[in-house]
């Protein structure tokens, strides 16, 4: 279980004003379930996501992984924690280094967990199949691949090292309907197989209702309701 406990984040703007992006947010993310998070733009969803995978330090509050406090982990321990919580962003184009092929990016992910080449190619085939990512695109550069395919690849990469939790920050909002449906189905099938806990951020109510077990609503940095 990944838990956020009374997490707040305060930004200091360049004008010197303080801005509370996230106020006192607590949530539990269970393995094998999909938790939705909805809200208007600028309500702090993305900030919460970055805090949950510890890419951004919270101002106050705690992050617990299986009831162990990880909010003050540094260096090695932090890397360890980050590997168990992966994140996929909205924009697929910036998710891949333009100078490397998709295959290279996959190997980068594999190397992070010290996989052998055999395990890596096995995992690659398996994930590409479940996300329906065509293997013939592996040796292409990101600029030569369409946004929809890149987003599939981004999800494949995030699942490469078998994380326990996956945070999806509006993964399909830049894609068309059919691709959105294909990708969402792919993710759901993986959740069921690998029992990964997913935090799915979106502002499409219909989509949230279709994919999530539970939905949290956020407004002005606070959680306002659950369903």
């Amino acid at each position: 279980m990944l838990t956020l406990e009374n997490v707040s984040k305060e930004f200091v703007l360049s004008s010197g004003r303080r801005f509370n992006a996230v106020k006192d947010v607590s949530l539990d993310l269970n393995k094998g379930s999909v938790l939705g998070m909805m809200g208007d733009s600028g309500c702090g969803k993305s900030t919460t996501a970055l805090i949950a995978c510890r890419l951004l330090n919270q101002t106050s509050g705690k992050i617990l992984l299986d009831n162990m406090d990880v909010s003050s982990h540094r260096r090695k321990a932090l890397s360890q924690f980050r590997r168990s919580v992966q994140i996929v962003f909205q924009d697929p184009i910036s998710a891949f280094d333009p100078l490397h092929t998709i295959r290279w990016s996959f190997s980068e992910a594999a190397a992070a967990s010290g996989m052998t080449a055999e395990v890596q190619s096995e995992r690659q085939d398996e994930l590409c199949q479940s996300m329906d990512f065509p293997l013939c695109l592996l040796d292409r550069f990101p600029s030569e691949v369409s946004g929809g395919e890149l987003q599939r690849a981004a999800i494949v990469r995030s699942l490469f090292i078998k994380p326990d939790y996956l945070i999806l920050d509006e993964p399909t909002s830049m894609l068309d309907l059919s691709t959105q449906a294909q990708i969402s189905r792919g993710i759901l099938s993986i959740v069921q197989n690998d029992s990964i806990g997913i935090l799915w951020i979106t502002h499409d109510e219909a989509l949230a209702k279709a994919v999530c077990d539970r939905i949290l609503y956020m407004k002005d940095g606070m959680l306002v309701q659950q369903s």
């Binding site: 980050r82 590997r83 919580v85 994140i87 333009p98 100078l99 990016s105 980068e108 981004a154």
Partner: protein
């Protein structure tokens, strides 16, 4: 074998990606370097061999001779490698400092950024030519002084540009993904930030070489270079101090000036920003 193939393929790919004027620049530089490195065989005379001074251009001495009767053409040819070498090393030193400062402060941010960028701003304020003259005249005349002076004064613009680019790159999704995979700063800098700053680094480097050449020429012209090393700047200096200008012996001072301009222009051309046409994705 395989790596050779890879390198050749890389060179061919890079060459194809160049603009016409960049190709022209590379061509000029390769030509100059070939001539320069074959100087002992190509040059008609030993550059230090003396003879009749102040000769006008003739078939035996196409650019005449100088005040000691040394052949100007031979000195010009021997000067190629000296000039380029000094400029190259000077640019390399300033590049190394500038890129390190820029990437480090751009990636780590926080107080390190404030401190390093503050120092950079301070260095930017130093009027470089007067200081160069001061340092070069204080230190013993040697070609490496010029390297030192240029290298330690001119890293700041590079640092600024690289810093700005690094700031841009570090916010990209792939850097965050690498962080999420548990990679640390050194890995990310080496594999993502530096390669993605490549364009600005190359541009800054070639411009740095060109500017260093000009600076070397100015310092040598002021008599602050090594009098024994043959560079184009020192040739112009010699022509000036020995009455070449006053007597209008253009064949003496004009060729080195043209060479300096040409070579610097060639470096500028190579480093010129590649005009990336909008790519259409259908």
């Amino acid at each position: 074998m395989r790596t050779w193939k890879g390198i050749c393929a890389y060179i061919v790919r890079t060459w194809r990606g160049l603009e016409t004027y960049q190709k022209a620049g590379v061509f000029i530089l390769l030509l100059l370097i070939t001539i320069g490195s074959l100087a002992p065989w190509i040059a008609p005379y030993d550059p230090l061999q003396t003879g009749t001074p102040f000769q006008s251009p003739s078939f035996t001495h196409p650019f005449g001779t100088d005040n000691l009767g040394q052949d100007n053409l031979s000195r010009l040819i021997y000067g190629i490698m000296n000039t380029i070498k000094i400029a190259f090393v000077a640019a390399l030193v300033s590049l190394a400092i500038g890129v390190s400062v820029g990437v480090y402060s751009g990636y780590y941010r926080g107080w390190r950024e404030d401190a390093l960028m503050g120092v950079t701003d301070l260095f930017l304020l130093i009027p470089s030519l007067p200081l160069m003259i001061l340092m070069a005249s204080y230190l013993e005349p040697s070609e490496w002084n010029i390297v030192l002076v240029i290298g330690f004064l001119w890293w700041c613009p590079t640092a600024r540009v690289v810093h700005a680019r690094a700031l841009q790159v570090r916010n990209q999704g792939y850097v965050r993904s690498a962080l999420a995979l548990g990679y640390g700063g050194p890995y990310i800098i080496w594999h993502h930030i530096l390669p993605n700053c490549k364009q600005v680094i190359i541009a800054k480097f070639t411009m740095g070489v060109a500017l260093a050449m000009l600076a070397e020429a100015s310092l040598s012209f002021l008599g602050l270079g090594d009098p024994l090393s043959i560079t184009w700047g020192s040739m112009v200096n010699l022509a000036y101090s020995c009455g070449g200008f006053a007597n209008d012996l253009w064949w003496w001072y004009l060729p080195p000036c043209i060479m300096i301009t040409l070579t610097a222009a060639a470096f500028f051309m190579v480093g010129g920003r590649k005009n990336e046409g909008r790519r259409w994705q259908i």
